[in-house]
């Protein structure tokens, strides 16, 4: 475990302790909610981890770095941005996946585009979004968010990759 994880454990413990002293009932409800969110996440998490593990074992590192590696340039960025926009992976699964891809030779700029479009753009959920926001707003929002993802990727490549 790294420092961040220890930090989160300490933070969670302190928060839990204070909450427990203030209101036992509320604290119990909080724990229940925490467990429920975890339970909801678990099926997807298990399924995606298996899939990615097989994928990373079969597809060798060379292919990944060729497609979305440092030297794949904007084509790699657009490719990862598109994959991010289309797929519907929860962030809790996406970050480990992204870290695995980075280890396997993906570039920071490309992963930045993937993460950003994954979180902000949802092509699969567009019909659902239209129910709430109407056609024009939904399409505009997703388009702007998609373009913005590339900007984020670019800045990340400047800051992190250097």
């Amino acid at each position: 475990m790294d420092i961040q994880t220890y930090l989160f454990y300490i933070l969670a413990f302190i928060a839990f302790f204070i909450s427990f002293l203030k209101d036992k009932k509320k604290t119990k409800a909080a724990l229940k909610k925490a467990w429920k969110s975890f339970e909801n996440l678990l099926p997807q998490l298990l399924a995606v981890v298996l899939l990615i593990s097989v994928l990373l074992t079969v597809v060798n590192t060379d292919v990944i770095s060729q497609l979305i590696g440092k030297n794949s340039g904007w084509i790699g960025v657009i490719l990862s941005g598109l994959v991010g926009a289309i797929t519907l992976i929860p962030p809790f699964v996406a970050f480990p996946t992204a870290a695995m891809l980075l280890d396997a030779g993906a570039g920071f700029m490309q992963i930045g585009a993937f993460i950003s479009s994954l979180t902000m753009v949802g092509i699969v959920t567009i019909p659902m979004e239209m129910n709430f926001f109407g056609k024009k707003l939904t399409l505009l929002r997703n388009m702007l968010a998609f373009i913005f993802s590339f900007f984020v990727a670019f800045i990340i490549s400047l800051v992190v990759a250097s």
């Binding site: 961040q4 909610k33 870290a99 930045g112």
Partner: protein
């Protein structure tokens, strides 16, 4: 019985993937075993990281009163409204499509359009538990850089959308929300 079926349905993709991995292991033992051990490694990593984040998430959900905050996000809410939209969106749980029904409730309660879009943006990208996960996996530099660009970016997109849509079109969206059955 029904409960088991429900659980089975929830895990159907996992079961499918697991069986596929099993078949793969029979025909290509080397790849199968390598994939399985990679999966186990990743999962144990995650199970170490997840508990504190989800406990914090649960505590936030219980202690942060959403209802009262919405009151301060109306037409003349100014910077306070923007701030609250960020806070509420950032402390929420669940995928982006979970935000749409909440957004509909916000519209019914008269939350300003730009604040509504900021809330959606915050829900999708600046969520606190997600950020904690991101820091652990991608490093502080990656996570904080993204956050630093995302905050102004979300505000910019919200105001751009406000500009690109006419007053009438926005009114239509709000009117449509009135007729939706939510929560």
């Amino acid at each position: 019985m029904e409960k088991y079926l429900k659980t089975l349905k929830k895990y159907r993709l996992f079961i499918f993937n697991l069986s596929a991995l099993g078949i793969l292991t029979i025909f290509k033992p080397e790849i199968g075993i390598k994939s399985a051990s990679l999966s186990v490694f990743q999962l144990t990593q995650m199970l170490l990281i997840i508990p504190p984040i989800f406990i914090l998430l649960g505590l936030l959900d219980v202690w942060v009163p959403r209802e009262t905050m919405v009151k301060y996000m109306g037409e003349n809410s100014g910077i306070m409204g923007i701030f609250l939209a960020f806070i509420i969106g950032s402390f929420a749980a669940g995928p982006l499509y979970g935000a749409f029904p909440v957004a509909a409730v916000f519209m019914k309660k008269g939350v300003k359009f730009t604040n509504l879009m900021i809330f959606i943006g915050a829900w999708s990208t600046t969520k606190v538990p997600m950020l904690m996960f991101e820091m652990t996996y991608m490093g502080m530099k990656f996570a904080l850089t993204r956050l630093a660009i995302d905050i102004p970016g979300i505000i910019l997109i919200a105001f751009l959308l406000n500009r690109l849509l006419s007053k009438k079109e926005i009114e239509k969206v709000y009117l449509q929300a009135e007729n939706l059955d939510t929560l």
